[in-house]
């Protein structure tokens, strides 16, 4: 398969992730969308790494996976604590920082 196929696939996945972040109101779904975006990037890293015959891209994938895991931990913890205080996790309701 040509490189462009992988990159198109990656772009499609990334766009789906962006749209998910923008239109969904449930933070869990938003997190899943963010994961989707990160993995879309991972896909393009791996593909490029393969086609360019270097391992740099694959190393970066591991870095991204680690950061994603950490980010999810913090994000879920935030969601839990917000739910505990407000009994609601709709992102549109979380606007107390409005100027």
């Amino acid at each position: 398969m040509p490189l462009s196929a992988y990159l198109i696939m990656s772009a499609v996945l990334f766009t789906i992730g962006v749209i998910g972040v923008l239109i969904r109101r449930n933070p869990l779904i938003i997190f899943m969308s963010i994961e989707l975006m990160l993995n879309a990037v991972n896909l393009s890293f791996v593909a490029l790494s393969h086609f360019l015959n270097t391992v740099d891209g694959q190393m970066l994938v591991f870095l991204v996976l680690t950061v994603a895991a950490a980010e999810v931990v913090v994000g879920l913890a935030l969601i839990v604590s917000i739910f505990r205080s407000r009994h609601n996790i709709d992102v549109d309701e979380m606007n107390i920082l409005r100027g």
Binding site: V21, L22, V91, D92, M94, N95, I96, G99
Partner: protein, 657 residues
Amino acid sequence: MLNLSFWVLLIPLLGFIILGLAGRFMHRTIILTIGWGACGLSFLLSVINFFAMLSTPAAARLSIDVPFTWISAGSFQVSFGQYLDPLTMVMLLIVTGVGFLIHIYSAGYMQDDPGFWRFFAYLNFFIFAMLLLVTADNFLFLLVGWGLVGLASFLLIGFWYQRPSAVAAAKKAFVINVIGDAGLMVAIYLLFTTTGSLNYTTVLGHTFPTDIATIICLLLFVACAAKSAQLPLYMWLPDAMEGPTPVSALIHAATMVTAGVYLVARAHPLFSQSPAALLVVASIGGITALFAATIALTQLDIKRVLAYSTISQLGYMFLAEGVQNYTAGIFHLITHAFFKALLFLGAGAVIHMLGGEQDMRKMGGLWGKARITAWTFLIGVLAISGIFPLSGFWSKDSILGSVLAQATTSGSIWYYVLWVIGLLTAGLTAFYMFRLFFGIFAGNYRGETVAQAQLHVEAETDEATGHQQSGPIAANAIHEVSSVMSIPLIILAMLSIIGGFIGSFALFGLPEWSPLAHFLPASMSSSAPELPLGLDWISTGISLVLALLGIALAWSMYGRGFTYKESHNPFYQLSLNKYYVDEGLNIILVRPLQALGRGFSRGLEDITLDGGSRGIARIVTGIGNGLRRVQTGYTRNYALGILIGVVLIIAYYAVRG
């Protein structure tokens, strides 16, 4: 030669720092130990140094000790140095010696004052500042000392800061002194531009063009006139009597106000180069002497009488310096320090006895009740009146003699006029001083009759002061002051008697005897014209006769006790109201300046400065309010914003290639 002046200077500063920081928590005894100790140690070192100087040959009696250099910019150097010559030595002894006596006296006078520690801290600070002024080896540190004594004076006049009148007097003194400081600063600038240095050794050895010398000397004299309360900058001194009486004695009679006399004597090589400036100094001095004496004739507040007499005596000193007899000026400075400190402390003792009363109308009859005070006060009064052989006689005589000598050698009418003014002032001085003396001590005590007349009047209490003015004291409640106050009086009285013997005895066929003139640099008296012995006798005789006449007149008018009669004689009213100078100044100067200030505050500050800054604030607030709307608080809006930003950045690079 031994030069201890750095230590003489440092000790009172240490005393001030310790008392200023920790005095509040100290016991009275410790405060006194530090306060007295600092000043006393300083005096002791000065005395040691004085004997070291005496044992040095006259030519080598100058020592400049430079602990460190303060400013060093190319060839221009200002050092923190101590210039010790006989003139400085005299000032050191006067400042620390009289200062020490007044420190002792203050322990009694300020006994009940809540600000006891603060008072001694300020006194030590003053001693330090005054010593800095007299020991500086360059004009810049002279200016520093000059400013600091002004500050000390301000702090001590406003010592009872709860009294509005004291605060106003302190401000007045400060403002008028700053006018003088400005003159001194410009003079220093001119000295620097002409000579490139500020050190005494360089500047005073320099020969100036006459016009430059005149300008510099006149500017210096502005500073002297402000500090030494000469016309037209004398107004602050009578008001300065709001301070505690020991302060009036130390700062506003014996030491600080003589700083101007010291400066002219210090800069005498400069003044001698400008006959015009000397004429101004002599004229201002003479006119001030007479002017202040005429005001003192009718004053009812005993401290004010003394204040005007101080102005008048300072005028004498400048008169002497104006005819180039700087030694006579310094001689009168010394004797005046003794008898004026004595008179002020005596007046303070009287005020203390009477529970804060300063009005002569409510005194009288104290001769039998307070013998030590009465006798010492009488000695002071005789000394200032110039009665033989007390100290005032010698110094006043040498001044009048020099003026007459100047008049005969120059043949100028004006100097004859100044001589007559001096003689007249001598007579007036004797009159008003004895009026004061009889007012306080002769006749019957008048406080009680006033007390009965004013029974219904509410008792004035002055919580700020230790002296609660709870109406006049009953006659049998008056008693002599404690020994802590009377011992300084006795010492000063003895000094007032013998202090004159350091002057010249030429009148009595002993031309060799003149310790002061031999001690001070010869240049301070060498340019003064000599007076033939016969004329000297005439001058002395007339002044003595006038003084005796003044005393006799005072005796005939007030010898049986002072009685105050309302008089509508215009001259009397003029003198009583101090020539309406304060009122006049209020109209001519103070009110227009206040109006100008108000105009500026409204027109300039409110509209332009405040308006400008408020406008800027309003613009910033507006921008903030506009930008506030961007912060919606919706997470997804932010996410969209980030996305749009990223897309734009990518698009930019994509298009640019």
